[in-house]
């Protein structure tokens, strides 16, 4: 009987908030269809995929693909490149949207703020293919804007930036910041708008400068948002992203631009080694999950901010 009562209560509660549940439904369906059901495909990491037998019917091969990968000549280079790019995107780029959000928050002119925000969001909506094509033209030897400017100042206008591995990471860093900084700052702006206005008034009465207000009120006010996003972001340490890197790769920068993500596409989609590619994807997923768990635990212990 108590169970029945509880069930009824749950049913009543769902019915009471039916509109909210209805809004939640597409989201749940999306994640079930595109995130949970495909997880079944991870079985491929342990199977010799057969077109005829399908995922479930294919023969088991145990940990063969994992052994092959970790003993391969490519593994250290791929892991090193992936970690470097992952660290750059997850850790080094992390403060930039926060700084932009803080700066936008300090703008007095509403119109100027709106224009700045819109301009900073725009790159996020541009296809990587278009962006990289523009970058290729800007950086082209002799005819690119940068090289022409260098030549104008008497320098060597023939530098082929995309073919030299030392320029790859700076280019990727600037490109990624430019593309995502505006979009990523939205969530921080939303968090800032949630900080109690009375705190700012009190700070003003106490004679706080704008910098001190930002340091002592705004930043602590969005601390939990920053913490949560960082914990989630850490999960991507072993994922360098695909599109930008794939498009920016040239034989000249391959030494630093070949990552696990590009390798997965090469092995899986272009060479049909589904099992091998899945096993690498699984390693990335597992490491990402462990990193999120670790970061969450550490954050809870040190800052009392955590996802759960």
């Amino acid at each position: 009987m108590p169970h029945r009562v509880k069930k009824n209560r749950l049913g009543r509660r769902i019915w009471q908030h039916r509109v909210l549940y209805l809004m939640f439904l597409p989201c749940a369906v999306y994640f079930i269809l595109f995130s949970y059901i495909p997880m079944g495909g991870l079985l491929l990491a342990f199977k010799n995929f057969s077109f005829r037998k399908g995922i479930l019917g294919s023969d088991w091969v145990g940990l063969l693909y994992f052994r092959t990968f970790f003993t391969s000549y490519d593994a250290p280079r791929l892991l090193r490149n992936t970690l470097t790019i992952g660290f750059m995107k997850t850790v080094i780029e992390f403060p930039f949207p926060i700084v932009l959000a803080l700066m936008l928050n300090e703008l007095n002119s509403r119109r100027y703020k709106q224009i700045s925000q819109t301009i900073s969001y725009l790159p996020h909506f541009m296809s990587s293919v278009i962006v990289i094509t523009i970058v290729q033209r800007i950086l082209a030897p002799n005819v690119g804007v940068i090289n022409q400017f260098k030549a104008l100042l008497g320098g060597d206008g023939g530098t082929y930036y995309l073919m030299e591995s030392r320029y790859f990471l700076p280019i990727l860093f600037l490109l990624d910041i430019w593309k995502n900084i505006g979009w990523d700052s939205i969530i921080y702006l939303a968090a800032i708008s949630g900080v109690d206005a009375q705190l700012y008034e009190a700070a003003q009465i106490d004679g706080c400068t704008r910098a001190r207000t930002m340091w002592h009120i705004t930043l602590p006010g969005i601390r939990s948002t920053v913490g949560v996003l960082f914990i989630i972001g850490v999960g991507g340490l072993l994922s360098s992203g695909f599109e930008q890197i794939y498009l920016l790769r040239t034989p000249g920068n391959m030494e630093v631009a070949d990552t696990l993500d590009t390798f997965v596409v090469r092995a899986g989609m272009l060479n049909g080694q589904f099992g091998y590619a899945t096993s690498i994807g699984l390693i990335q997923g597992l490491v990402g999950m462990l990193l999120v768990l670790g970061a969450n635990r550490l954050s809870r212990r040190l800052t009392e901010v955590s996802i759960w």
Binding site: F49, S50, F51, R52, K53, G54, T68, S72, Y73, D74, T133, Q136, R137, A140, P141, N142, G158, Y160, L162, M163, E164, T250, P251, G252, M254, E255, F263, R266, A267, M269, L270, N271, G272, Q273, F274, Y276
Partner: protein, 560 residues
């Protein structure tokens, strides 16, 4: 009751009339009738996907095909993805239509490796019993009719024990592979601005080695020619279709030791990959020299197609590394002429041919109902009448018969010359010279245009479009060298584990990486690292296999 009898009589009369009409209709079906059916063909060929009529089943050609055979063809194509990826995804999900069609010039193509895996697992129907009584495809049983690669590795693979899952396409009825026939020749490779060649008094055929090419590039640089915008001309430009290391095949042919998919035989009979020899660094050092001295475009390997086209159109490069006589930029003016060709690494001239070849392949998924109807249709299409319909369209609509030969109407020739592909595809619906519905020429075999239709391709005898292309082939003839056998790399599939690792390595990419290295030491390091990758992937095992196969049958693998 009074009306019962007359009513019965009337009913019987009507039924009899209907029956007679039905019989008459049945009699109207031509001998070529096969079945009332639309065949859905998945094409893994982007040229087909980009040249389809708006309404495929309602073109004059498809209507006529339906009248003759009852059958029609609708091509399916997935744009925006690589054909290999689409093929793999469809095979993995079992989402295959009535028939599949793929590009396939020889059995070493990566997509064929995927298709063979599918065949091993029973994804495709065995076509051998179905082609037995056909007019055209029954010729495929004859070893002498098919190219060796087609017979041994595509259609009649030993591992399938007499079953045939893939039908190779575009097999010539007669082997003309060693004959230089100007009206049919594609001259690919380097082309130089004719004005520059004239100014230098250059005999273009005399440039037959990379060293002579280097001297020529230096002279061009010293002369400081200007392009249409007044900028200095770069001596050696990239491939017309965009940067690629493939163009090196024409530029440094004499430094290309690994002629058999990267492998070759040493003087003492050992099989090695080129990266394991000094030839790799010879290539790297030569290309570094060209780059260092500003003789070669810096984006030779990476430039996108649009900008590569601009370089040629603006005459910003003196030499295009790779283009052919059937590209507009070549045949629409007299501005460019062939340069070279460079001889092979032994200094021997001649265009290598492995003999008769094919161009595409088709297969029928095992789940397809009544596959024999599709086989009959494919056989009909490759008959003389079928080929005429596919290539020339419908008589009276796109061509007229003159002296027993089909000749395209003036308006069709004009559409071809103006590049009006949409009209060719929608109004007439035939393949013509490839500028119409390209897929319809792709699905033919036993081709013999000159014997059947008196011209190398539709419109060739009446159109003026390709006169210059043919003239180039006439003025710059080459000789063919027949070297039988397949590239060594095509046998990688014999060692699946080695192949799985090897297929992830890209020698050309490594070469380019070495070319752009800061120093010779760094370049050597890159090549050494690639050697270690080869060893890790199992190159020794593979080389031993090739040595053994070559000693058993010297014609099996292409070495020279």
């Amino acid at each position: 009751m009074r009306f019962t009898r007359p009513l019965s009589l009337l009913t019987a009369l009507v039924l009899a009339l209907l029956l007679l009409q039905g019989l008459a209709l049945a009699e109207q079906k031509p001998d070529t009738w096969i079945a009332d059916r639309v065949v859905y063909v998945q094409a893994y060929v982007d040229d087909i996907g980009n040249s389809l009529p708006d309404d495929q089943l309602n073109t004059p050609v498809m209507q006529e095909l339906k009248r003759r055979t009852g059958m029609q063809i609708e091509f399916l194509y997935t744009p925006g993805e690589s054909d290999t990826s689409v093929m793999m995804a469809q095979m993995a999900t079992g989402n295959l239509p009535d028939m599949v069609l793929s590009y396939l010039n020889n059995s070493t193509r990566p997509e064929f490796f995927i298709a063979v895996t599918g065949a091993r697992e029973g994804l495709f129907a065995d076509l051998a019993p179905m082609i037995k009584d056909t007019k055209v495809y029954s010729k495929y049983f004859d070893r002498a009719y098919l190219p060796a690669d087609t017979y041994d590795n595509i259609t009649w693979r030993k591992e399938f024990g007499g079953a045939a899952y893939f039908m190779h396409l575009s097999i010539e009825a007669e082997d003309t592979s060693t004959q230089w026939i100007p009206s049919q020749e594609y001259i690919g490779g380097m082309y130089i601005q004719s004005a520059i060649a004239k100014d230098l008094g250059l005999d273009v055929k005399s440039i037959n080695s990379s060293e002579k090419l280097y001297e020529l590039l230096k002279t061009i640089k010293e002369k400081d020619y200007k392009d249409v915008n007044g900028n200095s001309v770069i001596p050696l430009g990239p491939k017309y279709w965009g940067g690629s290391a493939d163009a090196l095949d024409y530029v440094i042919t004499d430094l290309n030791w690994g002629i058999s998919g990267g492998y070759n035989l040493t003087e003492d009979g050992k099989v090695l990959h080129e990266a394991e020899t000094d030839w790799a660094m010879k290539k790297v050092e030569y290309l570094q020299k060209l780059l260092r001295e500003g003789l070669m475009h810096k984006e030779f390997f990476t430039i996108d197609e649009t900008r590569a086209g601009e370089l040629a159109a603006n005459k910003s490069v003196a030499i295009i590394a790779d283009v052919h006589n059937y590209k507009e930029i070549i045949y629409q003016s007299e501005d460019w002429i062939p340069l070279g060709p460079i001889s092979d690494y032994k200094g021997v001239p001649g265009k290598i041919t492995t003999g008769k070849g094919g161009y595409g392949a088709w297969a029928i998924p095992a789940e397809t109902e009544n596959p024999e109807e599709i086989v009959k249709l494919m056989d009909y299409l490759s008959s003389k009448e079928g080929q005429m319909l596919m290539l020339y369209g419908v008589e009276g609509v796109s061509y007229e018969m003159k002296d027993g030969q089909p000749r395209l109407k003036e308006e069709v020739v004009a559409a071809i010359e103006n590049g009006d592909s949409k009209t060719l595809q929608n109004t007439y619906g035939a393949a013509f010279d490839g500028s119409g519905v390209y897929g319809l020429s792709f699905i033919l075999t036993d081709t013999q245009n000159t014997a059947y239709f008196g011209e190398a391709r539709p419109g060739a005898s009446s159109g003026t479009t390709f006169q210059r292309a043919v003239q180039i082939a006439t003025d710059y003839p080459q000789t063919y060298r027949l070297v039988p056998g397949l590239r060594a790399s095509s046998f990688l599939t014999e060692l699946p584990e080695v192949n799985a690792k090897m297929s992830l390595l890209n020698y050309n990419e490594v070469l380019v990486q070495a070319v752009f290295a800061d120093s010779t030491e760094k370049a050597q390091e890159i090549i050494l690292s690639f050697r270690r990758q080869l060893e890790d992937a199992g190159v020794r095992e593979f080389e031993a296999l090739i040595e053994r196969m070559h000693s058993e049958n010297p014609d099996l693998i292409m070495f020279y």
